[in-house]
Structure formats: C-alpha cells, structure tokens
C-alpha cells in the first residue's frame, strides 16, 4: 500500500495491512491517534515527558499485539486501553516510592466530600474554552492519583464502574466513593480558581 493509499484508507484497512507487517500503515495509525493516546497518558500522569514516553511505549506494545486486535472495539479505544494499563503500572510503581501526603491520606479515609456545601455556580459560566481547560488542568493536578485515575477512566474513557473496579483492582464501592470525592473536589477547586481570578 502506498503512502497516498494510507492517508485515504480507513482504520480497519490500515490495521489489516499493519497486521501483515506494513509499517507504513501502522505509522498512519499512529499519526491519526497519537494526540488521543498522548492526551490520555497526560491526563493520568500529569507530566509531559512521562506521557510522551508511555504513549510511545503503548504504540510499541500495540505493534507487538496487533494480531490480538479483532475489531471488537475501535482501534483508538483498543490503544487507549493499552496506554491506560501502562500508566497504571507506572503510577503504582511511583506510589510505592512516594510518601503519602496528609491530604492524600485524608482523601483515602473519606468524609470531607460528604459535608461540602453544594456549589451552585456552573464552573464553565463565562469562561473561554482555553481558560476553562487551564483551570481543569490545574484542578486535576491537585487530585491524588487514585481519584484522578477514576475520573479519567470514567469521564474520558467512559468505563462503567465495574470495569474501572477491575482495571484498578478495587471494589465497585471504592470506585463510586473515589469518583464522588473527585467530582466534589473538582467542583470546589474550580470554584476556588474562579474566586482567585475575580
């Protein structure tokens, strides 16, 4: 398949060619989905360099496991699952090396999000898209890795509670509690950032 054919071929055709060893077809798939895979890694890792490294590692693993892809999901979804698992492995490794902050321990023991007053102002109100993205970026960085991961898997990867529980190796109840905490914390952080800028 020529380069011209690659750019006009759909994902399914490219995958079939890549499965037969066509590296050019695989490169086209990388070009098409690289932003999405990188974005997922960045959402989880919160570090540009790590996200680049892990996304590249995901592509290499994708090439090695291409014969396993049977089209039960879209190719993009299949790849995001690979990068998510790599990020989770890396985060677990880092967690073992990291000392828990007091806030993280407080998050784990739970309770504060249940008492927080309800925030009635829509966080997006009156904000430019870029400004909102920056605030969300800042707020996400302030969550612990468990809470951020649950948020990313649910909100961006659109996984169900059951799937998240399996991926993270915890109970469905824990997923629900973490997601609830993460959402309430995000609402509070976005409101704080709003107050800081007014």
């Amino acid at each position: 398949m020529s380069d011209k054919d690659h750019s006009s071929a759909d994902d399914r055709t490219l995958v079939q060619s890549a499965q037969k060893g066509d590296m050019g077809a695989f490169e086209e798939l990388v070009a098409r989905h690289r932003d999405k895979i990188y974005a997922r890694a960045f959402s989880m890792m919160r570090n540009e360099e790590e996200a680049i490294d892990l996304s590249q590692e995901a592509w290499v693993k994708g090439w090695q496991r291409l014969h396993q892809f049977q089209g039960e999901s879209s190719f993009g979804t299949w790849m995001t699952r690979i990068v998510i698992n790599l990020c989770l492995d890396q985060l677990r490794k880092q967690k073992r090396q990291r000392t828990e902050s007091i806030e993280a321990m407080d998050e784990e023991s739970g309770g504060v999000e249940r008492q927080m007053p309800v925030i009635t102002i829509n966080p997006t109100a009156g904000l430019e898209r870029n400004e909102l993205r920056q605030r969300i970026d800042k707020a996400l960085s302030q969550l612990s890795y468990e809470h951020r991961t649950v948020m990313v898997l649910h909100e961006f990867e659109e996984m169900e509670y059951k799937e998240i529980a399996k991926t993270m190796g915890c109970s469905i109840g824990t997923v629900m509690s973490r997601l609830f905490y993460a959402r309430r914390k995000m609402a509070a952080l976005l409101q704080d950032l709003r107050k800081q800028n007014t």
Binding site: D35, S43, S55, S177
Partner: protein, 165 residues
Amino acid sequence: MDHEKQLKLQSFLDEELSEAEAREVASWLAKDQEATLLLAELRNTRAAIAPFEAGIRLPEAREFYWSKIEREIERLEKPAPAKEKTSWLAAWRKILVPASAVAALVIAALITIGPPASPGQETESSYSDTGAFTYRDYDAHATLVWLSYPEENDLADAGPIDKVQ
C-alpha cells in the same frame, strides 16, 4: 443526606442504576431540593471536564515521535547481535611467544565453563510440533512457546494446588 444516598444520586447521573432504582431516584428528586442541587453540581462538573482532552496536542513533530517508536520496534525485533571481537585479542597477537602458555591455560578454563548465553535464550530445542512458535520478551524475562496442536484438554484431573516436591 447520607453518603449512601449521595452515591445513589451519582449512580443515577452515570446511568448505573436499574430502571426501577432510577425511577425511585427520579421521584425522590422531585421532592428533595438538596438532592436536586447536588445532582446539578455533579452534572455541571461532568460537563465541564468532558472536553478537556480534546484540546491536548502531542508536543512533538510527527516524524520525530514516530522515529523513536520505529527504532524501538526494530530493536525489539532484531535478533541478538553476534559478539564483537574484544580488542585485547588483537593486542595478544602482538606478544605471542612469552604469553602463549598462559593464554592456552586461560582458554582451556573458558572452554570448560562455556560461552555465556542470554538468559532465556535457548541453546537447543526440539519440538514434535513443527508448527510451534517461540516469542521472547527480553524486558519481562519471559519466553512463550505456543504449540499449534488442535484443542486438547490438558486440564483434566489436574493435581491439587500448592504441592511441593
């Protein structure tokens, strides 16, 4: 509102409830303003962050990013390189006479120990299944040998778990 109710509200938002449970929550929401406000907050937060990733772009040029991936794939697929000749061999050749006796002893010792192989790399193998394929993951220190025989149930009457011999 207790925590269980708060989580139920969240499950309602995320469509994780059964139809009957969802109807129950809907009728509760009609009578409870606090619950309605909390649901609105959760909904607003979800809507706010949903488009977050759409704006993220990989901060590397296409060719540069791809070249690293391609190199790694090629490195992993390349067979182990042949050993390079050590430079001391060339130096030895210059001083043959006085060092030859010592060199012969050393070489004899090395032959006895044998050439080092990469861990996991087979030095010899034979399979009755000519369709068997082998895959080596050097990073994981794992080798897979997959036999191509038709489906067989080798699990019949497996022994008890955790047996020590």
